[in-house]
Each structure stands twice: as structure tokens, then as C-alpha cells.
Amino acid sequence: MKDFVKKLETIVGEAFVSAEAEERYLYSMDQGTMPPAEPDAVVMPKTTDEVAQIVRLANEFKVPLVPMGGGLVLSGLTRALKGGVVVDMKRMDTVVEVNPASRYAVVEAGVSQGGLKAYLAKHHPDLKHSMPDAPPAATIAGNICIHGSGHLSVLGGFHSDMLTGMEVVLPTGEVVRTGSCSVSPQWFARAPLPDLSGLFLGWSGTTGIVTRLGIRLYPNYRYNDMLIYVCETAEQMPEAISLLTSVQVAEDMTPWMVPKPEWAKGFFHINIAFGAHSKKELIFKRNLIQESVRRLTDTKRAGFLPIPPVQKGRFMQIPSPDLARFADARKGGGFEYVGAMMAIERFPEAYARGMEIAEKFHVTYSLGARIIGAGHAMMFFFAYAFNRADTEDVQRAADALEETNRACLAMGGIPWKAELPAQKEILQQMDAGTVGLMDRLRNTLDPNRIMNPGNWEA
């Protein structure tokens, strides 16, 4: 490893490689419940060429590489399960291009959510991208590669649906492009070509290192508003979601069910965010949303919570501070969730199972969802807070998460950005042909199996 580190230094410079214990400790874990797994070293490349050199070197030495963005995935996907080197992409932080006419941006893989937001606010205030409710240090590339979602997901679907193209260093060191940028100088779309981007989405860094990507941008409205629709029962929620999304006005829709504050306990809320160029348009959109559920509201079994304008600000912050507050509910800053991609009609069942599991394991919970597309799917989350300094508390949360993963699969859902135990559960349930294809693709792309080994192993 010493030789390998020396050679890494020649690629990126001494200052950007470390095999010191403190660095290896910091890169051994994230904020979730997965046990630490130390890398042998950490490297921070600045260019695509440096990444390609690192990958070729790793093949030569048969050293595992673990690509990392913000390191905030929570499910331990950037832990070096079989040792090797964490490739921290944060130095590749340039916003390469913004195309206002075709509404896309090209960014390097280390550009953070907060970085792009600030860049657009300064240079293109009429445009915005879909922010996840992750800390602003989370990277655009990392979130797209895990099929993340965010504040424009009702409008634009998963963040991976907003991807317009990629530049990737393959596990053998070649640099490839997917999408329109493979043919044209512009990064406007993945269509109409054979869609190779899927080779790198949802694979947890096992098929290559993304160095650059294009994402869709959306109008950044001057006027913004939000509504909260409240239902009495979980059984009403699929209909409410279906109706609210049917008018295709909302940018974001996030159901939430929490034990605290006390007044909210036992009720089913849906935050609905929307924007407009003018006040008149904003009111028009609000009316459309309200009319969409009129038949449900008229039964008096559901309705919009009256919120004075001055109190709406806290619900409209992007990213939402609520999850960060919840993350410290038990003190000690531990927080992890199972985000299950599910069909919307499973909402009542998901809620019931979440409540059962929270009660069984005595965990502090927050249940909710983010609606994807015009009611096409949801990311239902079962979030558990724990005290990282209390090993029993951590274990209780880990056990609850594992049972939740199994419950999600049993309901026909699929755990998102699955941690190792959940990956195994998914693979067990997966169609054998699909598992075989995944393995063949990996062997083809990565003959030495150096890319984030230990993940998605059949």
C-alpha cells in the first residue's frame, strides 16, 4: 500500500492523499448505523484525467476504490468494505456550464447541492435545481447516482430522471460519455440514444466513477406558496395524493406523520409546494390544488390546515430543517432511515408497519414520504433517531431498520440506497435473471472487481 500511496501522490500531489489514521477513521463511517470499515487511504483528485490515472493504477495494484461525494448517504455505501482507497470527489467542484435556454447545467462530480444553489442564485436567479432534504454539502452527482429525490420531484420525478448525460471513468480507466454529450457538444438529454446512463445509476459506485454530469434546471419562481392537507386516516392518503397530483401544479409533495408536536400525532399531513411568476398565477394554482380534492374536503374528513402567511416560511425552507432537527431528537446526532420506493396504494400498509416497528423497538420515529412524479410512486421513509454514543440505542435503531427493510420488501417496496443487509435482502428477492445480468455487467466493466467491492455482490 505504501508504494500505491506514493504513486497516488505523483498523480494528485502530496496534499491530496492520506493514509493517516485520523483520515482513515473519519472516512470509515457515515452518520448511520452501519459499523465502521476503514480504508487504507484517501485520495482527492481534481480532474477527470487524475481519476482515470487513479483507476488504472488501482487495476495495476488490484486495490479497491470507493467513490465518494458528500459522504452523507447514511447507509454506509462509501465505507471501504474490503479496504482500499476512498476517492473523495469534493475537489472536482466546478459548475462547468449553465444553459438557460434549454434549462440544464453541467457540473463536476464534487459540486455540492448548496454550491449549485448559490451559483444559480448569483448567475441565473431565474433557474433552480431540485434540492434533496440533505445537508447542502451533499453532492449533486452522489444524489443522482443513488436515485435521490427532492423539492421538484413531483414536477420532474427522481433526480436520476433529471439527468441529461454523464462523463464516467470506467473501472478499467477509460473515459466515456452517455447521453447527448456523447454525440453533440450539448448536454440537453439522454434521448434518443441507447441509454447507457443506467449502467451507473443505482449501482453504488460499483461500475465506475462519475466525474461530470448534466442535470435539468427548472424555473425559479418569484412567488411561492405551500399548503398542508390533513387527512384523518392513512386509508384516505392514496386518494388524496392521487387527486392532488392529478392537476400537475405542485412542485413537491411530502406526506408526514410524527408523534411530536402532540397536536400532529395521529393525523396525516401532506405538504404541497408550488410557485408562480405572479400572484395571480399563484392564486390560480392554489385554487386548482384545492379544487382537486374538493370532493374529499366536502366530506369534512380532510382539509387544508389554515396557516397564516407569516408562519409558512418554516415549511418552505429548502432543504427542510425538520429532518436535521429530528436527527438530534435523541441527542448524539444519530439518524438513519429506510426510504422505500413503493407504489402509492401501499401507503396505509406502510404506515401501519412503521408504527408497529417503532413500537416494537421503542425507537423515536418520523414517518413520511416524498411523492415522485404525478403520483407515479413514492419514497416512503421510516426514520429513526438514535444517540450515537449509546451502543444499545444504535443497535435498537439498526434492528428496527433491518426489520423495516424486510417489511418494505414484503409490501412490494424496495429499500432505497440500501445498506449492506438490505442489499442482500433485495438480491434474494430479485429475479434470478436480473441478478445474473448485474453480475455479468460488473465482470465485463470491472474484470478485477475493484469498484466498491462488497456492495451488490450476488
Binding site: 390533513v230 384523518e232 387544508f304
Partner: protein, 340 residues
């Protein structure tokens, strides 16, 4: 359960049926129709008014006989299960505003100012105007009159005596204080008009904020620097429970040089701020009310939009400010005139 003080025979012989004829929100063709609707309400029968009522309290003021028409209407809505707002909206607010049992005994001294469920506004109690004041606040002493907007007289009957008991046993009694200044019209209306109508005993002496301020302005007369500004006052629904205090407000405005120029939607014709209709899922109607109110204020070229109700202010302040008026509470306007 105490019945609401009310005599149906008074309504039968009422020649004007002002409670409905003066209503600004429900279209009533003539006195005959108004009388028919009123008789149905009094008899506990379902009728159009019970569904269309905005719950603005105004009929309490319009009734020339003091026969509590609004309290009776709310009673009938609850009896017949005619909720103006969806059940989960009411249920959440019932929990939100419930007494939490977090109250602790504390000595108080006059003036005791009851900020009700608006702890976020305790900073308004400051300066020479409120010198030496003891402030009490929290949901344990919440006046609960808001349930009139939600067909929940039963909650008023249950919680108002608890709030009164808490005010006495945790604050006033041990400090041998009997006077309590009500910052909000709702509290004053609860402990005067409503308590009397519902047969609830009030062992302390409620003082309306306007009476308190008016008195203090006499004490501080030398410090007043007249504002010389045109103001528009957004009269709240709960002031309908104490209409006499509106004249006191005129005295206050006169003393501080705030000119309350006559306008269409003031005094008896005051329009709802739009907050409650939103809870009733009538946002478009609420938009219309806000627009009418603000346009009327702009017509008289007001500089300030003055509120006494914190809820009205929370509902309208942003729109008011965007339209070029300065939203302000009565107490803050007075403090401005005192140079504070």
C-alpha cells in the same frame, strides 16, 4: 350544562331581525325570510344560515335585544353536527390549543396583562405604557372563545372554567389581585359577554386593553407626540362582544393624533380579516375579503393598518405590507406616539 341565556319569544316579536338582515355575508331576501330562518335556528332545525354562516360574531352586535343570536347559532351547529371546518382541522387545533398543565404559580402585581395564547407577543408589553406590568400567557389560560368559529360550544363550556380557575389559583388569588387587563378582545369578550351568556362565573375584574391604554395616556399626556397620520383600523370579530370599547379606541386615536378616517368597512360594517374562512376551506372568499379590506384602507390613503387582534394581524400583515400600508398593533402605535 348551562343553557345559553336566550329568549325565543324575544325573537318572535322582533320586527327587524337585524341579526340576519344586517349580515354582510348571507344573502337574505327580506324580513320574512330572515324570520323564517331565525325561527328554524331557534327551533333547532337545519337551515341555510347554519351552513353559510361565516362565524363573524357580528349578529351579536346587530341584535337590538341582546338575545345572543350568535351563541345560539353556534349551539345549533354543534347539536346538528354542522361543522364549518373539516374534522381533522378542528381536531388538530383542539389539541394544539388544549391546556398543557405546564402552568406554575407566580406572584403578580398590577397591572396584570393577560396575553392569552400569544406568548410570542409578550415583547409588546414594554415601555412606560406597561410599566411594572406582570404578563401571564399560555394555553392553560387560553380564553377558548375561538371555538365559536368551529361549532364547539362544548369545548368552551369545558375549558373556559378551567382557564378562569387557573388564572385565579396560579396568579391572581395569592397575589390578592382582582383586576386583569385583557390584551386581546377575545379574552375580554369571553370574561364579560360570553361568560354571562353561558352562565360561567368570573371571579376577577377584566379590563379591556383600550380602557387600560386610554387611562395610561392620561397619565402620560405630557409624553405624547401626536402622530398626525391617517390610520385604518381592522376591527376584529371578537370586538363584537364588547362594542362599547370601540368608542374608547376613538379616544385613544384622538389622543395620539391618529386620524380614523371614515371608510366603508369599519365599525359596524367591519369585514372579517379572512383568517377563519380559510379554516372553513373558503380561500377564494377569504381572498375577496382581504382585497376589499385593503382596497378600502388604500382609498382613504391610510399610512397604518392598525390591528388589535394578533390573529387578524398574522392573517393580513404580509399582504398589507406588500400593498404599502404599515401593519401595527394598537399598543405599538400608541408607543410610537410616546416616542418609544
Amino acid at each position: 350544562m348551562n343553557a345559553i341565556a336566550f329568549d325565543p319569544d324575544v325573537c318572535k316579536s322582533c320586527p327587524t331581525v337585524d341579526c340576519l338582515m344586517k349580515c354582510q355575508y348571507i344573502a337574505i331576501a327580506d324580513v320574512a325570510e330572515a324570520r323564517q330562518e331565525k325561527q328554524k335556528i331557534n327551533a333547532g332545525q337545519d337551515c341555510r344560515v347554519l351552513h353559510e354562516c361565516l362565524t363573524c360574531y357580528a349578529c351579536q352586535e346587530y341584535c337590538p335585544n341582546g338575545n345572543n343570536p350568535f351563541f345560539v347559532l353556534v349551539e345549533r351547529q354543534e347539536e346538528l353536527g354542522l361543522l364549518p371546518a373539516p374534522r381533522p382541522i378542528v381536531a388538530e387545533q383542539l389539541k394544539m390549543m388544549a391546556p398543557k398543565g405546564r402552568i406554575t404559580k407566580a406572584p403578580v402585581a398590577t397591572p396584570v396583562v393577560n396575553m392569552c395564547a400569544f406568548p410570542m407577543l409578550t415583547g409588546s408589553i414594554r415601555g412606560r405604557l406597561f410599566e411594572g406590568a406582570s404578563v401571564i400567557t399560555g394555553t392553560d389560560i387560553f380564553c377558548n372563545v375561538m371555538w365559536l368559529h368551529f361549532a364547539k360550544n362544548s369545548v368552551i363550556r369545558e375549558r373556559v372554567p378551567m382557564a378562569i380557575d387557573n388564572i385565579m389559583s396560579y396568579y391572581l388569588k395569592d397575589s390578592d389581585v382582582t383586576d386583569m387587563v385583557c390584551f386581546h378582545d377575545e379574552c375580554y369578550g369571553t370574561y364579560t359577554t360570553l361568560a354571562k351568556a353561558y352562565g360561567i362565573d368570573v371571579p376577577f375584574h377584566p379590563i379591556h386593553l383600550f380602557d387600560y391604554i386610554n387611562q395610561r395616556l392620561d397619565d402620560l399626556a405630557d409624553a405624547i407626540k401626536p402622530l398626525n397620520q391617517v390610520i385604518a383600523y381592522q376591527r376584529p370579530c371578537s370586538n363584537r362582544l364588547a362594542p362599547g370599547t370601540d368608542a374608547v379606541l376613538d379616544e385613544i386615536f384622538k389622543k395620539i393624533g391618529a386620524e380614523r378616517v371614515p371608510r366603508k368597512y369599519d365599525r359596524e360594517n367591519a369585514l372579517c380579516c379572512g383568517g377563519v374562512p380559510r379554516a372553513h376551506q373558503r380561500d377564494e372568499f377569504a381572498d375577496d375579503l382581504v382585497e376589499k379590506n385593503i382596497a378600502d384602507m388604500l382609498d382613504i390613503k391610510a399610512t397604518y393598518c392598525v390591528f388589535n387582534c394578533p390573529f387578524c394581524m398574522a392573517t393580513m400583515a404580509q399582504e398589507v405590507a406588500e400593498r404599502g400600508l404599515m401593519p401595527i398593533l394598537v399598543s405599538d402605535l400608541v408607543m410610537a406616539a410616546l416616542g418609544e
